[in-house]
């Protein structure tokens, strides 16, 4: 799959810009943050044809015009759940076995566990 690098006017794109250079930033920042610019990304409709990495103005969802460098064309969302976590896969089995043992050990007439309390009120 090749990434689109050229857009037409009206395409949905993302631009990037620097909001604050390091010298303009808040004074109360840890050094690793203070030495970097504050950057932002925003999506909108391209106001002209353009290329990724080149200048672009977008009209955002609220109708504002924002200038920046085009960072992506029709950017998507690719966050996932990922793989099951080995450190968690035992939890369900363990707790269900624990509940079965607990319920089996409760006297039938003594109220037992929360699940042996009878019907809902």
């Amino acid at each position: 799959m090749t990434e689109e690098t050229r857009c037409n006017a009206g395409d949905w794109v993302e631009v990037e810009r620097v909001l604050l250079e390091p010298a303009d930033r808040s004074k109360n920042l840890p050094p690793e943050t203070a030495e970097k610019p504050l950057r932002m990304w925003i999506k909108g409709f391209a106001q002209a044809a353009g290329v990724v990495g080149g200048p672009m103005t977008v009209e955002t969802m609220t109708g504002r015009l924002v200038e920046g460098t085009m960072s992506a064309i029709n950017p998507g969302y690719f966050h996932t759940f990922g793989k099951p976590i080995p450190e968690l896969v035992h939890v369900g089995v363990d707790l269900r076995a624990r509940l079965a043992d607990y319920h089996a050990a409760q006297p039938a007439d003594a109220g037992g566990g929360a699940n042996a309390q009878g019907g809902e009120r």
């Binding site: 909001l19 930033r25 690793e32 950057r39 909108g44 966050h79 976590i85 707790l95 509940l99 929360a114």
Partner: protein, 470 residues
């Protein structure tokens, strides 16, 4: 020379006055005290009015569920006679998937009534989804400022999902790199657009949460004959604690113990580009909980409506690994798959209920939606990619940003008390700092500080004397 940042921040008061639709200066009483209840009721809405606004907005009236299997897990490890009943308010059933809809619904209603064209909020959390959803229903434009990425443009999966859902509801999302100047840009945009500031910390937002306390008191009374003995509340900026506790009290549940719950992220700096992606919780943690409780007026409004120390009886913390364990457990034994941050209070409840009598009732007052990115597996996989060690073992070996330890057994889940007395002291020190040098607090100031810390005049005077000596 004044920087761009300083220039906007210097005009912040004037910009916010226009954007909040409310003049906070009328509530100020002295360099220290202000009329909190006056500020909270100035919007003129009764609790019934707010219930009406929310019902029409599709918000509230969420299911209250008893978690019988989780209660039995607790009882299986409790001493005889111990093991309280655990309940949850399934706030994920709200329109945009969290209790934050209650907060947003009132703010957006006010924005519409006052004739604003749009709303702006600075939030990386569920509040962004809530504001975007309500703005869509009311036909208002919406801008959400989010702290999304580190300087390498790598985003927390949980926050990237929040970008997606806000955009799904038609909001303009501004994704930024790490830094508190998020608020600078919000103020700049408020100035530019004339939109309403849908602050998390306005009286509109916090009043909107009171209905959650009201529902809990009423529904628990219908179900068990009384309001809950304990209400456990996931705690970040303090609005959740404040609003829920106020609602419980307004419903007459004055004996319910208010337990705030946060994930322990001690040692991680909230403005650090390096630490940003080494935390696996983006809210509900001590990095917000402690600074906002001990100085609420650090917020984006002149006076914060979320003043949690007024209501907190205990503040308990748990580790990231413990919350992930309980999040997995909730899916497997209760059939309730929900987002991890909202399960912070659930994890505290498991630890708390173990030591309470069997007839005690513990309500966990929220859940939040889950999905791709915003899921405990996604957060743990991401942590591993960022070089954080994830292993099974004893959660006391947890080290925020370095090691996440998943418990092997539920017995290992042990919430820790955070010292509320120390928080009160820290709050009083911060409040006194606002007054000019040499200002002597009046009896009215002392009474205000006592109310604001849920203590008494003698306790406040003792703190002041101690601070003077130091």
């Amino acid at each position: 020379m004044a920087t761009k940042f300083d220039a906007i921040m210097a005009r912040r008061g004037e910009i916010m006055l226009k954007a909040l639709g409310m003049d906070y200066s009328v509530f100020e009483q002295s360099p220290i005290a202000f009329d909190y209840e006056g500020m909270m009721s100035a919007h003129g809405y009764s609790l019934d009015d707010i219930v009406g606004i929310q019902t029409r907005a599709g918000v509230g009236h969420t299911p209250l569920l008893e978690l019988k299997n989780l209660t039995d897990v607790v009882r299986s490890m409790s001493a005889p006679g111990k093991g309280a009943r655990i309940f949850v308010k399934d706030e994920a059933a709200n329109m945009a998937g969290a209790f934050k809809d209650r907060r947003a619904s009132v703010s957006i209603h006010v924005a519409k009534e006052k004739g604003y064209e749009g709303v702006i909020a600075a939030t990386s959390g569920n509040y962004g989804a809530a504001v975007s959803s309500q703005a869509a229903r009311y036909g208002l434009k919406c801008i959400i400022c989010q702290e999304t990425f580190d300087s390498r443009h790598i985003g927390q999966p949980e926050i990237v999902e929040k970008s997606r859902i806000c955009e799904a509801f038609g909001a303009e999302v501004i994704q930024m790199t790490v830094g508190p100047e998020l608020f600078f840009h919000m103020v700049e945009l408020l100035d530019q657009t004339g939109y309403f500031a849908a602050s998390l910390y306005s009286s509109f937002g916090v009043s909107g949460i009171e209905t959650l306390g009201l529902e809990i008191a009423e529904e628990m009374t219908a179900l068990t004959g009384a309001p809950p003995t304990h209400c456990v509340i996931t705690h970040a900026g303090g609005g959740n604690t404040t609003g829920t506790a106020r609602g419980l009290k307004r419903a007459g549940a004055t004996d319910t113990q208010i337990i705030s719950a946060s994930v322990d992220l001690s040692g991680l700096h909230m403005a650090s580009d390096d630490d940003f992606n080494r935390k696996s919780f983006t809210t509900g943690h001590t990095g917000f909980g402690v600074p906002f409780a001990t100085w609420p007026d650090r917020a984006d409004v002149p006076r914060n409506a979320a003043r949690s120390l007024r209501y907190i009886d205990r503040y308990l913390t748990v580790t990231q690994g413990e919350v992930f364990y309980i999040t997995e457990a909730m899916s497997k034994i209760e059939g309730l798959e929900r987002g991890p941050a909202g399960n912070t209070a659930m994890t505290v409840a498991v630890s708390l209920a173990r030591d309470l009598p069997r007839d005690a009732t513990v309500v966990v007052q929220e859940t939040e939606y889950t999905g791709a990115g915003k899921h405990h597996w996604a957060q743990l996989n991401f942590a591993k990619e960022m070089g954080v060690e994830v292993r099974s073992g004893d959660p006391t070996e947890n080290a925020p940003g370095k090691v996440i330890v998943i418990p092997e057994r539920p017995e290992q889940i042990q919430a820790k008390d955070f010292d509320v007395a120390r928080m009160r002291k820290s709050y009083v020190r911060n409040a006194l700092k606002q007054a000019p040098d040499g200002y002597v607090p009046t009896a009215a100031d002392i009474a205000f500080l006592a109310a604001d810390t849920n203590s008494d005049a003698a306790a406040v005077e003792a703190i002041i004397a101690e601070l003077k000596e130091a």
